[in-house]
Symmetry: C2
Subunit: 97 residues, 2 copies
């Protein structure tokens, strides 16, 4: 997986308007925060994201901070954002929250 260029990232983000660029632990990625209602609903959402992530063998950081869940995507092996991040972001968006 190759790291995407800034221009490629901007093009992909145009189709995923809820996701924003974010640096996290020194690596560039994209993040989205979902409002999930009560704490157990948040846990359920974390679980649904994690199941998608495991299926894709691509593991985002997930923060459960009631009443919100934040997902941060990057491709550690590549050192930045790749197509895998945007594929998983699209799948997560289709989950709803």
């Amino acid at each position: 997986m190759e790291v995407l260029t800034d221009q490629e990232i901007d093009g992909l983000l145009a189709k995923l308007p809820e996701w924003k660029r974010e640096d996290h632990h020194g690596q560039h990625g994209i993040a989205r925060t979902f409002t999930t209602g009560n704490f157990l609903a948040g846990l359920g959402f974390v679980t649904r994201v994690a199941v998608l992530a495991e299926a894709a063998n691509h593991h985002p950081d997930i923060v459960l901070r009631y009443p919100r869940v934040t997902v941060f995507l990057t491709t550690h092996d590549a050192g930045g954002l790749t197509q895998k991040d945007f594929d998983l972001a699209g799948q997560i968006d289709r989950l709803g929250a």
Copy 2:
């Protein structure tokens, strides 16, 4: 629930040596990071912490960041650390990871 004094916090932390004071989103709390093995083991640990938290009606921030899970405890209503945080920290320690 009253906010604990610095001296009280130090006394309680002496019994929970894996937990460290940490400020997070502008509020004083305590945090511990667990190494959990693979991603689904991490998800399982998040779930176990969340079930304890829900039972205590006291909801920490939980960060799943493979291969680690970090738990941050504070009492939002009180504006700092209370006995509830240390009670839940002790329960989480007894879970193992």
